[in-house]
């Protein structure tokens, strides 16, 4: 059973508060420990939990504000413009101004709405996004809970936000929102499957579902050993997050803002917050599962390593968002079932066979695995690109001119005598 004292956070705060004679508290805790009188261990227990949760939630909110700023700056750079730069140094205070503005907006509730559900939906949306952080290890000994099914927990919680989307659609009584909910549910059902199966390779390699154990198992980051799993997981996570090119649930050029169409003020703000919190959480999960989590080299603290990797993943997500148009819903479905699902199955079989060959692999054997997996990865990507790609091969040089001829003839536009 995991020990709460494994978590550095817990240990420091608990030992500062409690005057327990626990051996775990030797030499830790500020002010020599024991702020509370003896016999109040239970209060220290509760307070520690409250402090950690409060710190975490505020940390997430701060991170979301930073990410809103960062995304807008980066999008600005990618689009050849400046981005927000007026309010505070480098525009850092812009998201705060945005938040204040959002809070002071009028809270419009449509008359046809189901008021209770309408109000509940943003809260339902935020809560799974925040729950993921409960199991996310963000540094050496820095985590809230190390449960032994953390990976499954993340997957389970991640799917729950669709309930909020359906609730928002129902609550606002708007048909654009209904389209959005239909699309979101269809996408969830399709992408949950490759998402989960792509993780099996990681679980096989680490032998555990605990995120801490998975990070500890990564002597080589798993994206090197499991390229196919990494690819599928990143793509499926972006679909689950409703990020471009899979943002059909809130496709603004099609269904206005989808389930958020009727929301305003802080209810909209909560959706916004939830979306960004989920994006950060997902990039954290990708970091933990495939990029070696907090591993790095020494003088730099592990938490910094983790955050640096996470920011890298976030930048990748923003980059994709800035570059690509959106897919159509049927194409998204086809992509999930015809490409990603098969790719995960290939990954599953290959990884299983490799694990059979080297049941407890040494570092050298891990490199062999990586080599084989990369060959399989490249071969299968090329194969599926050929099978499912557009009819006109976009790679070939002549295609940019597809079917366009530059006419300079004076012949009649259409053959004479051709009637309408």
């Amino acid at each position: 059973m995991p020990d709460p004292f494994d978590s550095v956070l817990y240990r420091h705060i608990y030992c500062t508060l409690s005057s327990t004679a626990d051996a775990q508290c030797e030499g830790v805790g500020l002010f020599g420990g024991g702020l509370l009188p003896g016999g109040f261990e239970w209060l220290a227990f509760v307070l520690t939990g409250v402090i950690i949760v409060a710190a975490l939630i505020n940390g997430i909110l701060g991170a979301v504000l930073l990410m809103i700023w960062g995304e807008r700056r980066l999008l600005g750079r990618l689009q050849g413009r400046t981005g927000p730069n007026r309010w505070g140094p480098f525009g850092l205070l812009t998201p705060i101004a945005d938040a204040v503005k959002t809070m002071f907006k009028e809270d419009v509730v449509p008359t046809v709405s189901d008021r209770l559900v309408f109000t509940l939906a943003p809260i339902l949306m935020l809560f799974p996004a925040l729950l993921v952080y409960a199991v996310l290890p963000i540094g050496h000994g820095t985590w809230l809970a190390d449960i032994n099914v953390a990976l499954l927990f993340i997957v389970a919680i991640g799917g729950a936000n669709v309930l909020a989307i359906v609730a928002a659609a129902w609550g606002s009584g708007n048909r654009y929102a209904m389209f959005s909910a239909m699309r979101a549910v269809a996408m969830l059902i399709s992408y949950e499957i490759p998402l989960v199966i792509s993780l099996v390779g990681v679980i096989m390699l680490s032998g555990s579902l605990s995120l801490v154990a998975i990070v500890n198992a990564q002597t080589i980051p798993f994206f090197i050993i499991q390229p196919l799993g990494f690819f599928v997981f990143v793509v499926a996570s972006m679909a689950e997050l409703n990020r471009t090119p899979f943002d059909v649930a809130e496709a603004e050029s099609e269904i206005v803002a989808g389930y958020m169409t009727d929301y305003s003020s802080m209810k909209f703000g909560l959706f916004f917050l939830a979306e960004f919190a989920a994006t950060i959480a997902t990039s954290g999960v990708i970091t933990v599962l495939f990029l070696g989590g907090w591993h790095g080299f020494d003088p730099i603290p592990s938490q910094i390593w983790f955050i640096a990797k996470m920011v890298g993943v976030l930048a990748l997500i923003v980059w994709v968002r800035a570059s690509w148009p959106r897919l159509r819903i049927d194409q998204i479905m086809a992509f999930a079932w015809k490409a990603l699902f098969e790719l995960t199955l290939i990954n599953l079989v290959v990884s299983g066979l490799l694990m059979l060959a080297w049941p407890s692999p040494s570092t050298t054997e891990l490199w062999y695995m990586a080599g084989i997996n990369w060959l399989v990865f490249i071969a299968s990507i090329i194969l599926f690109g050929k099978l499912l790609g557009p009819k006109h091969d976009p790679v070939s040089a002549g295609n940019v001119q597809r079917d366009v001829t530059l006419s300079d003839s004076d012949a009649p536009a259409i053959p004479s005598g051709g009637g309408g």
């Binding site: 009649p412 536009a413 259409i414 053959p415 004479s416 005598g417 051709g418 009637g419 309408g420």
Partner: protein
Amino acid sequence: MSSVTAFTASGQELAAEIETIAPRAVTATGDFDAWVAPDRLIDVMTGLRDAGFEMLIGVTGVDYIAYFEVVYHLLSLSQNRRAIVKVRCGEGRIDPVVPSVMEVWRGAELQEREVYDLMGIRFEGRGQMKRIFLWEGFEGHPHRKDFL
């Protein structure tokens, strides 16, 4: 500078061409236009389309106070020329009506609706006319000279 009118059939040519399609349909000719009788319009237009005027460029209603006139601009892509056919919708200002050419050219669909909406000329043979820019129930037809 080349003259635009170089591509437009003169009134005499056009009248002669219409004469072969629908005899005695032409009521008058101008420099670049020919007037046809409203009851022969569909025959004339079908014939002109089959003779190479594949495209109906525009339908315009003009209020000449004494009568209304509908102007059809035709374009032949294969022969690279234009023609202007005009129709007077009878005498008087009450319920002017001409046959619809929508059966001949799909392109008349929105243009005839526009003429109906703004000029009040009804097009027969295409079902109930519907206003296009103004709302149903709007009083009058703004492009008429008596609408102020």
